[in-house]
Symmetry: C2
Subunit: 113 residues, 2 copies
Amino acid sequence: MLRILGVIGDKWSILVVGTLRDRTLRFGELHRAVTGISQRMLTLTLRQLERDGLLTRTVHASVPPRVEYTLTELGSTLLTAATALGDWAAAHRNEIENNRRHYDEAHPPRARR
Amino acid sequence: MLRILGVIGDKWSILVVGTLRDRTLRFGELHRAVTGISQRMLTLTLRQLERDGLLTRTVHASVPPRVEYTLTELGSTLLTAATALGDWAAAHRNEIENNRRHYDEAHPPRARR
C-alpha cells in the first residue's frame, strides 16, 4: 500500500494527471501548464507516471521528434478518485491557511524545541 | 492550491491521518502503527498536521508527560475525501505493479538516456 500511495501521494503527479484531463499535451505545453514545476521534476514525474501505466508517451517521427503524453484508462480512473480530495483542498484552503497563521503566531521559531 | 496539495499529497500525512481514524494515540503508538516511518519523519509530519489544524496535540501533566494526538473535525473530513483515493490504490495495486514490471523490462537502466 505504501508504494502505491507513493505514486498518488505526490502533488506533482496529481497536478500533471489533472492537467492531462481530456487532452494530449507535449512536454513544453505541460511545462507551461503546471506552474512551478522544474524541467527535471517534470521529466521524473512523467517517467514515473508512464512506468505506473497512468499515461502513455508517444514519439512522433518528425524533425525534431514530437513527444506527446496522454492519460491511459487507468490514469482517468485515478483522476475521478482524486476529485474528492481536490474538492476538499479547494473548500478548506482558507481554513488551513488561517490555522497555519495561528500556529506560527503561537509557536515562534525561537521558542520551539 | 499547490500549498494545500502539499499537505495532503504526502504519503506519511495520509497514513498518519488514517491511523488516527476514530482513536487517540500517543507518539510511540503512532510510531509502531505507521510501518516504516522514522521518529524524525513522524515528528515533522505530526507538527505539520497540527499546524494545518488536522490534529490536536495534548500534553498531559504526568511524569513523564503523556502526549496524545487526535484528529480534529477538519482532519476527519479529509479522511472521508481521501477514502476514494485509498480505495482506488487498493483496487489497482496489482495492475500498477504489473505495469512497473513491464516498464522496467522494456527500459533496462543501461539503455535509458
